[in-house]
């Protein structure tokens, strides 16, 4: 790792953990690049320097990548921007003279994994119903066409569900389990292709450490194969949630629910135009009305709720096979360090920290707090 490592999307879930981990490891080569200064707030405690750069504009990115020989693209955001952003980052990385571009894609480009031993360079399914997966697939194809160019190695990582502290794939299931809204499709027998966030970051480290990273597509994932049932039961046990309250959903076909229809509406350009035009006060009032109409006030979190089956989760839970990750291990000599069990423990500790489980009643508060402070002082 000679020059700097530019991290685009450093304000996001994976990016902020990458930054945090790097700072605690004493690394000085990480160059976080963010579009707006608001992203700095997420890591304000670390006191690191940032560079500003708009990932959708190569002219803006080029100075931000100066002096970096590796670029890590962890950007998220609107699906409609994914391809443009990928093109822009590629151009800027090339112009900056970087040796490697690590692009975080997603196993969702396939839809559910429907066959064993899926090749790492299998083409994405561009007819995917989910805009995010469709656009991720198009971005991959853009990069695929440029992998033969020797000037810049392009390593596309395809993780499954990135989980761990801070992940929506922990917070969502945990919240659903506690409010009685969790469900398992087909008894939870589907394969849950998990990638613990720190394991993913070690994968990125392995690519960065490789002197001549070969361009290509690589599946990455945790070592253990787990089912959705394994995952939910492990979380439920730690949360004290009753697994008997997990709803059973048939796996024969998906039946669209209200949330999917709302998401479809929100994806319409007209919705975004209308949203942008409304004053903040009107938006806040409308949102409040919708939340109340849907019964989404905080008091409902601990009450029994009905499962709202979403198309995305239904499809994920019907995944039949694990992602084969042998190519990445063979190429980069990578080893994961976080097991399923320790990942669950860390995730539960995070859920307690943010107050999802063991709600901090005033009576319990003093005990919990003095414990936290004592550890902080003593360490």
């Amino acid at each position: 790792m000679g020059g700097g490592v530019a991290v685009l999307g450093a304000g996001g879930f994976v990016g902020s953990r990458l930054l945090e981990r790097a700072v605690h490891a004493g690394r000085r080569d990480i160059v976080p690049v963010v579009r707006g200064l608001r992203s700095v707030g997420r890591a304000a405690n670390l006191g690191v320097s940032y560079r500003l750069g708009d990932a959708s504009r190569p002219d803006s990115l080029k100075p931000a990548l100066a002096g970096c020989d590796a670029v890590v693209n962890l950007t998220t955001g609107d699906p409609g921007d994914i391809v443009r952003t990928t093109e822009s980052i590629y151009s800027a990385a090339l112009a900056a003279g970087a040796r490697v571009l690590i692009h975080l894609s997603s196993a969702s480009v396939y839809g559910p994994v429907e066959r064993p031993n899926l090749p790492d360079d299998a083409p994405p399914w561009l007819g995917h119903w989910m805009p995010y997966a469709r656009q991720k697939g198009r971005a991959e194809n853009f990069l695929r066409q440029r992998m033969a160019d020797p000037r810049l190695a392009i390593v596309v990582l395809r993780p499954g569900l990135i989980w761990g502290p801070g992940s929506p794939w922990v917070l969502g299931p945990a919240t659903d389990l506690l409010r009685g809204a969790a469900y398992l499709v087909d008894s939870g027998n589907g394969i849950c292709n998990l990638m613990y966030v720190d394991n993913l970051l070690r994968s990125i480290d392995a690519v960065l450490a490789h002197a001549a990273a070969p361009s290509g597509f690589y599946h990455v994932g945790d070592d253990e194969t787990r089912t959705w049932s394994d995952y939910y039961i492990a979380l439920a046990a730690g949360l004290g949630a009753d697994i008997a309250k997990i709803h059973a959903v048939p796996g024969d076909r998906f039946r669209a629910g209200p949330r999917d229809r709302i998401e479809e509406l929100k994806a319409l350009p007209m919705y975004r135009q209308l949203k942008d035009r409304l004053p903040i006060a009107a938006r806040a009032a409308m949102k409040l009305r919708v939340v109340r109409a849907l019964g989404g006030d905080r008091a409902a979190v601990t009450a029994n709720g009905n499962a709202v089956v979403t198309r995305e989760l239904w499809h994920l839970q019907t995944t039949r096979y694990p992602l084969p990750t042998g190519k990445f291990r063979a190429t980069f000599g990578h080893r994961n360090t976080v097991s399923f069990r320790s990942g669950v423990a860390a995730s539960l500790a995070w859920l307690r920290f943010i107050g999802v489980c063991e709600p901090e009643t005033p009576g319990k508060a003093a005990q919990a707090d003095s414990g936290a402070l004592a550890v902080g002082r003593g360490a």
Partner: protein
């Protein structure tokens, strides 16, 4: 006999960035459209910012500095919405020019600055209010009333938690540097929280404090244990974690919960009985008439409007403001006292090695080393 309506009040805004745009703009337009006040001056060294705001207040004059502004106009009220490190100087400039002041929170980044502001306001006989908008929340006002009547009994304990990923559209990194912001999430959200906890339970008299700031950073997470005259409890705040926002108070005779995202209701149960939801109907004056109309705030932006009206009423009629400079100063002193006893916060997602490293590089270690 009804007094004649007050004259339309001229308002100056110092600092035309995110706070002015995001918090005050709509409320000021509402005041202006009702003929209550008029934005007469926009002050900011960045012409792009003043130009953006001027689109909504076309009759306002534009100035680059407070000195230029006050050489030309004398507003009834000056809203100080500049970066916190400039609050003191800008408020002092406005008070010296004879204007009343509504200063955004935090009132200042150091207690000595806040003290100078309070003294200047007293000597100038001008109102110095601090924008602690949550004091306008009907739920907070009703909680105060319930506690005053002893609805929860004694031995009160509270737990407050608020956090989300930081998304304020800042235009500089001043909010993330100790020299310019004074601190991080405690200074930001904590200003509000310590203010209304002080109003509910009395000013904190002691406690402990832990945060996650390194030597070059400001805290993104913090945790306080507070001892107040009428209660004790914990506060957890975050700029980067989606904390389950909640406020719970429990006493010998009952419990009460507030959802800080909902300003017009609270939930109460007495003696272990069933929870009841109470709608809060606290109203605030909505104009400057001596016995004018009142309204019920239904959202945070509503509260900003009513806060502005109340500050103008203080200027025009001598009525009290929800949070004056003395109360704002008390909050800054409390924050400073907690910073002085800061320890490293345990973040459960860190590995043991990372936590040890964080402890070693905690900003308090640097302070002790310097001392």
């Amino acid at each position: 006999m009804t007094q004649p309506p007050a004259a339309r009040a001229d308002i100056a805004i110092i600092g035309c960035g995110a706070a002015a745009e995001g918090l005050y703009r709509d409320a000021l337009k509402r005041l202006q459209s009702r003929g209550i006040a008029r934005v007469s001056a926009l002050v900011d060294p960045n012409p792009a910012r003043t130009a953006a705001l001027a689109r909504h207040f076309p009759s306002a004059r534009i100035f680059a500095t407070p000195a230029e502004a006050f050489a030309n106009i004398t507003p009834v009220l000056t809203i100080v919405a500049s970066p916190p490190s400039l609050h003191a100087q800008h408020a002092l400039d406005a008070l010296a020019a004879g204007s009343h002041v509504l200063c955004e929170k935090p009132m200042a980044v150091r207690a000595e600055e806040a003290e100078r502001m309070v003294t200047a306001a007293r000597l100038a006989r001008r109102v110095l209010a601090v924008g602690m908008t949550r004091r306008m929340y009907p739920s907070i006002v009703q909680t105060q009333a319930l506690l005053a009547e002893g609805a929860l009994g004694d031995r009160l304990r509270f737990a407050y938690r608020e956090g989300r990923v930081y998304d304020w559209p800042v235009s500089s990194d001043a909010a993330f540097r100790r020299a310019t912001a004074g601190g991080g999430v405690l200074m930001d959200i904590g200003s509000h929280v310590l203010d209304f906890l002080g109003a509910l339970f009395g000013p904190p008299t002691g406690g402990s404090y832990a945060d996650d700031a390194r030597a070059d950073g400001v805290e993104a997470n913090c945790r306080l244990e507070l001892a107040c005259p009428d209660a004790s409890g914990v506060v957890q705040l975050s700029w980067n974690q989606p904390l389950v926002t909640s406020f719970t108070i429990a006493g010998s005779a009952g419990e009460l919960t507030l959802d800080p995202g909902r300003i017009d209701a609270l939930r109460l149960r007495r003696d272990g009985g069933t929870w009841e939801t109470r709608m809060c109907v606290t109203t605030w004056p909505s104009d400057l008439e001596p016995r004018g109309r009142c309204g019920l705030p239904r959202s945070h932006p509503d509260c900003i409007y009513y806060q502005l009206v109340q500050v103008l009423r203080a200027a025009v009629h001598g009525e009290p403001v929800p949070v004056d400079g003395e109360k704002g100063l008390a909050v800054i002193r409390t924050i400073e006292s907690f910073y002085e006893r800061a320890t490293s916060l345990r973040l459960p997602w860190l590995t043991a090695a990372e936590q040890s490293e964080a402890d070693v590089h905690h900003w308090s270690q640097q302070r002790w080393a310097a001392a």
